[in-house]
Symmetry: C2
């Protein structure tokens, strides 16, 4: 072996090793999540050689830059350490760990053992005086002064050794010296991990879903936003603070579905709000039957007066009548014969809907337009978005889009409606969705609930995924509710409200509506395809129990 | 929001996300370990949006460079994937994962569902023909030819749709098309993880520890290497393949310990082999009473003739008589009065030993000299090193040193004698030690054994740490052996030999030697401080049972 191959490190590496820093999601690729005021706890393994003791800090700062704030770790034993912090401003942060040999405390611990062994400590006291003097040189007034007094005392051979040792071991002095360590050879964790601080609503809230068109008194026509606002006092009284509206856009007429999902609509059938777009506009228009965009703005303001945030459903798909179909045919998938492919999932066909083609060469204009949809509604006072089927669009698209929106509005909130496999739901949560629908509706036995909520509340999942425990949706009326009657509704509402900080109901739940299309989880006479007028104070309702 | 803030990615990101790649030790900072021929299994979570299927490969290559070898992952369900590989050459490797949408298989799966739903598939068959043609363009002869035949058939409208679908779904064709995917938009895992392939001996072996000076017939003098070689047939017959020798260097006379660790040695007491160094030399010399370096070389060769590798004990500490004490006083820690500090751990003192000062400013010359010690013995045919107390030296030093040695000799093997806290033992294993002493001697009840071996055999620990299950050492004679008699020795040997692939005994174990210094785990009349002559065929021995 020639000496040239014996390459030494450029400088002596730190004697301290930091690892197992937690939370750390996928090697720091994705952020841990907290909300304003929520405790952020970081643990790490910190080891060094020999008998010396280590000290360590958690370092935190805004991602955009600025000074690091530092919090000391406490030793938990077994080389495990823990630090806790709290952030008060929403946004993106970075955190990392720094650790070093605590020279003074190591010396003091050794000194104590020598005293217990009745050894001569003259040499050690001289050494200690030097440590304290060095700490003094790193300190400012008045601590420097106090440390110099201690150093002089330790070196004063006219004072009995045991009295000097007693000063050296005084916990107040040990703590003081620890404030001014030599961090020149500190170990720095080799990455700055991301942390997202969201607004409180990302973690805690109660959601109410309703079709505004059903909030009137005439089942033969759509109610307006002005009429729907009449429900706000009732919703506020039940304690809800988010009001989620299915798509409020114009609805296509081509291949429109009729009542109960009939293949052909009868005259006057309003169609599904998820068949988005018509001659009146697409994802940035409101259905004329609901009113104007000004009416929408007014509705959002009215809701706010009741302490309620309006959440919109963003469903990226188009009816054949959507303006984009003509303006941007390149955003859709075409068959070899040139026709556009409607949505299919054999044996099911959704002829009233064209999916967007994210594999298009024109992905840049498509992504930009879709971002524009969110920006439009942000400009109209909406900060909460329930995203329809995000798992059927590319995950990197969502990461980019949510990043763009949150850079503008850190308190924006995205709920993923992804009823799919666990790792795909988790991926969406990692890359930016604040909340996720869950399997809760299908977890009804005790064993199912224990198993599922153990998964949701155990790290690492609990570090990045927050479940929104909807008890029902327009698509999911579980058999438990179909057959269980009023007690079942009370049980499920109680579980949802207590198993997590965020839950929701789809309107009608409070009336214990439980009639299905037989053999399915669909509602009979589903509001998805017709206007449904109800007596919101019908006997047997559980409004008082919910609120 | 201005358009300048809507920055799009430079290119459309892959739709596939790869995460949870395992093994991955500390974000890839440390290597996973395998031995030649041992199965290397990698798992990953691979998710994508929508209904498309993914395909993925594990990629492996030598760290120095070269072509990637690829092994396909198999789907385990729930978005989990697994691939297996085996390496046949010791050394350092890198591995990573690449995944992409399997367009043909996704199309074929969709086609099958359409066929089952009795739908017209004319358009789909045209699409499929295009996929197959594209695959043909990526293939070479003869596969390209076979794919073109399939493409032509799929496009041939004179053939009934179902017959064409049947060809398209033929598993052989599906597999053939999968061999030539479009990987232009594949996802690549963002790091190349390290893997170390060690020689088989790093995982599998049986160790025998003996003091060569005790292998003669006269307790009043040291035996020589030539005499000690007389034990080799016996050791080989017991089935051992590593013969580990405590330090073979000159022993200091200053503050030499006497028999049974007496503070003062009597005339003729040989001293502890761990008090290394005298006027005759230090860590690169052999004790004159054992012979010359040529005798040592001869001994190593003789052992090899019996299929036995000699392992040396490397203990980085010096007797006050070691040449380095005079030649390199800067490598030792001095008291304020200028004297060198001997080893202390209050209330214990080790006056016959000076520790090396790794905090010295002269760390570069110290590290280089210590590396030279290993190089010296490597040049004398020793590839296996049992390192004394590595946890009292800086961890980065070992990472550097082992890296240097293994770059020269990949089959070198390092056993860490670190009886310390779990995370420190694990850190040493991560940064390069091939094997570790363990807590096995102190795990005697069933519950203790189950708990401890669950820890050792569970990932991630099992990915980087290999325990060498010594049943005793010159420092550890467990109470179980002190009081249990011959049955206890048989029980412990059986457990050690069956609970893991590597175990070891310190000589005398086969004679069921169990006399302690009362109240301690030290041997009475310990061989550490005196020559001990035994009858290796004494009645009651368990040599036949061990072999």
């Amino acid at each position: 072996m020639t000496s040239s191959t014996r390459r030494l490190p450029d400088q002596r590496p730190s004697r301290v090793i930091i690892d197992a820093v937690f939370p750390e999601i996928d090697d720091g690729r994705f952020p841990a999540k907290r909300t304003v005021g929520e405790r952020f706890e970081v643990t790490a393994h910190i080891v060094s050689d020999g008998h010396d003791l280590v000290d360590a800090v958690l370092r935190l700062r805004p991602e955009a830059g600025g000074d690091w704030a530092e919090v000391h770790f406490e030793a938990l034993g077994n080389d495990e350490y823990r630090a806790r912090a709290t952030a008060r401003t929403p946004g993106r942060y970075r955190y990392t760990v720094e650790a070093w040999i605590d020279a003074y405390r190591s010396w003091a611990t050794d000194l104590e053992r020598r005293v217990m062994a009745n050894w001569d400590i003259a040499s050690e006291l001289r050494e200690g005086a030097r440590f304290v003097e060095e700490a003094a040189n790193r300190a400012g007034w008045p601590d420097a002064e106090r440390l110099r007094v201690l150093a002089a005392r330790l070196a004063d051979e006219s004072i009995p050794q045991l009295e000097r040792a007693s000063s050296a071991l005084d916990p107040e002095y040990v703590a003081l010296a620890a404030l001014y360590p030599d961090r020149g050879n500190a170990a720095r964790y080799d990455r700055e991990l991301p942390l997202v601080i969201d607004s409180e609503r990302a973690r805690y809230g109660t959601w109410y879903e309703m079709f505004p068109r059903s909030q009137g008194t005439d089942p033969n026509r759509s109610a307006t936003f002005r009429e729907a606002a009449g429900r706000l006092p009732d919703i506020a009284a039940m304690g809800f603070d988010v009001l989620y509206l299915p798509p409020v856009h114009p609805i296509g007429t081509t291949k429109r579905k009729g009542r109960n999902n009939a293949l052909e609509a009868a005259p006057g059938d309003p169609g599904s709000p998820w068949a988005i777009g018509g001659p009146e506009g697409g994802h940035t228009a409101v259905h004329p039957d609901l009113g104007t965009i000004e009416d929408f703005d007014w509705f959002v303001g009215e809701a706010r007066n009741f302490g309620i945030d309006v959440a919109l459903d963003i469903a990226f798909q188009c009816s054949p009548d959507h303006p984009w179909v003509h303006e941007h045919p390149e955003w859709f998938r075409h068959r070899p014969d040139g026709s556009i492919k409607y949505a299919e999932n054999p044996p099911k066909r959704y002829e009233d809907v064209y999916p967007l083609d994210f594999d298009t060469e024109a992905w840049e204009s498509l992504w930009t337009a879709l971002l524009g949809v969110f920006e439009f509604w942000l400009d109209h006072g909406v900060k909460i978005f329930r995203v329809d089927n995000p798992h059927t669009k590319p995950f990197p698209f969502w990461e980019w889009l949510i990043g763009q929106i949150k850079a503008r509005e850190p308190s924006a909130l995205f709920l993923a409606e992804a009823f799919t496999r666990p790792k795909r739901m988790q991926a969406l949560a990692k890359l930016g969705f604040d909340q996720s629908y869950s399997y809760f509706t299908w977890r009804n036995s005790k064993a199912e609930i224990v198993e599922y909520f153990t998964e949701l509340t155990t790290p690492p999942v609990s570090e990045f995924m927050r479940a929104n425990l909807f008890v029902n949706t327009p698509d999911i009326l579980h058999e438990y509710l179909q057959v269980g009657g009023r007690p079942a509704f009370l049980v499920r509402a109680t579980l949802a409200a207590t198993l997590g900080p965020t839950y929701g109901i789809y309107s009608g739940f409070e009336l214990c509506e439980g009639d299905p299309v037989p053999g399915t989880e669909e509602y009979a006479d589903s509001e998805k395809y017709q206007v449904k007028v109800r007596d919101w104070d019908a006997p047997g309702n559980i409004k008082a129990e919910i609120s």
